[in-house]
């Protein structure tokens, strides 16, 4: 029910009603972008934004820098794991 899908704003179709065309996984659909527009980020600056689409509304912009930070953390964790060759994950030392 709370499903949201990332999409990229391709075109502003109605600046006053805050309507845009968003590419959602290759499908173009009309989306209301009222929730991502404010004085600091007017309608015309929304072109190219990546947004989360839920029931025909853009709920928020996706922050590309934060996404990269999360991915970097995941990378670090995987790398850390690779160096943790000791127990409990490493080979069990042979008993004398």
């Amino acid at each position: 029910m709370c499903l949201g899908i990332p999409g990229q704003i391709l075109e502003i179709t109605d600046g006053e009603q805050k309507l845009a065309i968003v590419d959602v996984g290759g499908v173009r659909r009309g989306v209301n972008i009222a929730c991502i527009v404010d004085e600091d980020h007017p309608v015309e600056s929304c072109l190219g934004d990546w947004v989360l689409v839920h029931v025909g509304f853009a709920l928020n912009r996706i922050d590309p820098e934060e996404a990269q930070i999360t991915l970097d953390m995941l990378e670090e964790m995987a790398a850390l794991q690779a160096t943790l060759a000791d127990p409990p994950f490493g080979p069990i030392p042979a008993q004398g």
């Binding site: 029910m1 709370c2 990332p6 929730c35 989360l52 029931v55 509304f57 928020n60 922050d63 409990p88």
Partner: protein
């Protein structure tokens, strides 16, 4: 797909799983039973089953599936009210597809539609408004359902109806709120939970701050999570790490979308159109104070409950159904007598079997009909 594929990398999942295993071992070294973490949101439940994450977890860590599916918690009385609305000849009832098969006390919306009721499926509340504009001689009611994720969309649709002067549009408002439901769960004496994976898209709207009460008053760690498999595993690891370090805080894994204070435009629209109900009935959980939204008196002309007379009956859940205990995380679906026999996705008795986000439907679809087989007993060496 950008922002999706990179959060599904199996290589990275291995690293996260190893970290989870280590933390699970550490945390259960001096206590009986696994660490229990509830994923609150039905979207997380769906993703956990779709990607088979549960089977990858060590036996020291157990996921409990929470009540965060607005379809599953809709009580039968509200379904009966929706069906009663369709009995008005002027009414076109519009709704998301998810609720069509939820059983009311006598029939579902799908059965009512088959019997001739004018019920139309929409993708967005804006579609319902379009139907209203196209049929000025009819009364178009939108069956509004969903958590805080969805409530701003219906609020903005009402505000648009007001702007456009479309008066034959109204909401049958069934929006529910996450934090009061979690507080009700946490007050339940049977519940044994160590922490929460918090709902990501609800938090896009309300922010991270409203969960402080869970950490401060109930001393449970919360990590707000995204919906891809790596998001969920990372969030689970973050909850375990908090437990290992003796912390109870609200952490945010989904920083690419969730800010501390939420989305101000969405919150303002909700505050304008809705007020909090004194209480709302949740299927399986009963009445929960301040857990639902109704129309603000200033928008009574868009309120289906003010425009039409409805039965407002309180209907008990089906006797054999264990949805309530399953939603509380006390029982697993296979503990229910009718799971997979009298109650299936084609003929659901309880709401957890209706929605693809319900725990029972997920267990049924992904083959978790029985508990994981116990490991074979260790054989004694033959002598």
């Amino acid at each position: 797909m950008k922002y999706v594929q990179e959060f599904r990398d199996p290589q990275k999942a291995q690293g996260l799983l190893a970290a989870i295993r280590a933390l699970g071992d550490q945390l259960t070294a001096e206590r009986p039973g696994p660490i229990k973490v509830m994923e609150v949101c039905g979207g997380h439940t769906h993703a956990i089953f779709k990607y088979g994450l549960e089977a990858l977890l060590p036996p020291t860590v157990e996921l409990v599936h929470g009540p965060g599916c607005p379809v599953c918690i809709m009580p039968r009385g509200r379904l009966d009210d929706a069906i009663a609305l369709t009995q008005y000849p002027s009414v076109i009832l519009t709704t998301f597809g998810d609720v069509m098969r939820v059983p009311g006390s006598r029939q579902s919306l799908l059965q009512a539609k088959a019997a001739g009721a004018d019920i139309r499926l929409v993708y967005s509340p804006l579609d319902a408004l379009e139907i209203a504009a196209a049929h000025p001689d009819r009364q178009v009611v939108f069956f509004a359902i969903g958590f805080e994720t969805t409530a701003p969309s219906t609020a903005l649709t009402v505000l648009q109806a007001e702007r456009q002067g479309i008066e034959n549009f109204s909401l049958f408002c069934n929006h529910v709120l996450v934090v009061p439901a979690l507080e009700a769960l946490l007050s339940h004496p049977n519940l044994q939970l160590d922490g929460f994976i918090g709902p990501g898209h609800v938090s896009v709207v309300i922010g991270a701050r409203p969960y402080q009460v869970i950490a401060e008053r109930y001393h449970k760690p919360v990590t707000i999570s995204g919906f891809e498999p790596l998001d969920i595993l990372q969030s689970l690891g973050m909850v375990l790490r908090q437990l290992a370090e003796g912390r109870c805080q609200v952490e945010n894994q989904y920083t690419r979308l969730v800010q501390a204070t939420g989305n101000p435009v969405a919150l303002a629209a909700m505050a304008r159109v809705f007020v909090v109900r004194d209480q709302f009935e949740w299927r399986g959980l009963g009445d929960i104070p301040a857990s639902g939204l109704r129309m603000h008196p200033a928008y009574a002309r868009f309120d289906a409950e003010a425009k039409f007379t409805l039965p407002h009956g309180q209907v008990a859940d089906h006797r054999a159904c264990a949805c309530g205990e399953i939603l509380q995380g006390v029982k697993k679906p296979w503990d229910c007598k009718v799971f997979g026999t009298a109650c299936t996705p084609e003929h659901p008795l309880g709401a957890c079997m209706v929605s693809s986000e319900g725990a029972c439907a997920a267990y049924y679809k992904y083959g978790h009909g029985r508990p994981h087989p116990a490991p074979p007993p260790r054989r004694l060496a033959q002598v």
